[in-house]
């Protein structure tokens, strides 16, 4: 179910969205939800349509280790890996919730971006 963004276009444009799977996004947003037991990193475009996501659980951590900052670091790195080739020039990072993964994810993103 695609994100419902109201459009006033003609009906011909309805189906084009699904074809642009490898769309180039110069500007994006990285949402980091850093709760106490997990950290979820989602990469979207500026309007909020998700490009890719990754979480600590999908990176193979389980149980108490999901809340650690190192795990958040790996999750962030994983999430960005898919988007790095798409030529993103500007990224906005939005961090939600109190958790140990806040700083760690930020640091990981910074590392990937600048090195």
């Amino acid at each position: 179910m695609a994100k419902a963004i109201p459009r006033i276009g003609s009906r011909r444009n309805g189906r084009i969205g699904s074809r642009k799977s490898a769309r180039r996004i110069p500007k994006g947003v990285i949402h980091v939800q850093a709760s106490f037991n997990n950290t979820i990193v989602t990469v979207t475009d500026v309007r909020g349509r998700v490009v890719s996501w990754s979480s600590v659980g999908t990176c193979g951590f389980k149980g108490t280790r999901r809340g650690t900052p190192f795990a958040a670091q790996t999750a962030a790195a994983n999430a960005i890996r898919t988007v790095v080739d798409q030529g993103m020039q500007r990224v906005e990072v939005m961090i939600k919730s109190l958790g140990l993964g806040r700083d760690a994810a930020l640091r990981a993103i910074h590392e990937v971006v600048y090195y």
Partner: protein, 182 residues
Amino acid sequence: MAASSIPSLFSFFTPSKPPSAPTKAQPCHLTISSSATTTKNGWTPLVSSSNEIQPNTLSLSSSCSSDVMSVVCPSFVHANTLFFRSAYNVQVIVDENEPEEKLLGRFRREVMRAGVIQECKRRRFFENKQDEKKRKTREAAKRNRRRRPQARNFTQDRQETTKNKKEEEEDNWDLPEGNIPY
């Protein structure tokens, strides 16, 4: 340059137009927004954009007001729109080649100033009316304690001097004239 940036800034606030990417090719640019949400309630939007930076989106409490990073630069014209529209409280704009530790320190400091962490802790568990009252009085005391001492000194001195003069005139050390009843 500044003049050209202003109309483009206004154009971002019209919801119908999607924000256009900056025409200059810039190296990767990071802006970071932080929100405070409790794990229980999910996301409660806090303050909306009041000042230039930071709408407090994340927190709902009025005590968390967002401070805006006063970075105004034509290249960052496009950077704030997301922040303004969303419910995030703190915004930190990253300069080029900023060392990691410095960035993190700045981020943490801004978050602390916005009171996001306090607010989160408070919202984790239920707080009955008693505790809420206690907390509010404590916060009010803290807020007033910082501002009052300076203002008080000035006004008090003036009051004291005028009072002293008045008292000297009205002092009743002498016995009243006339016959005393006893």
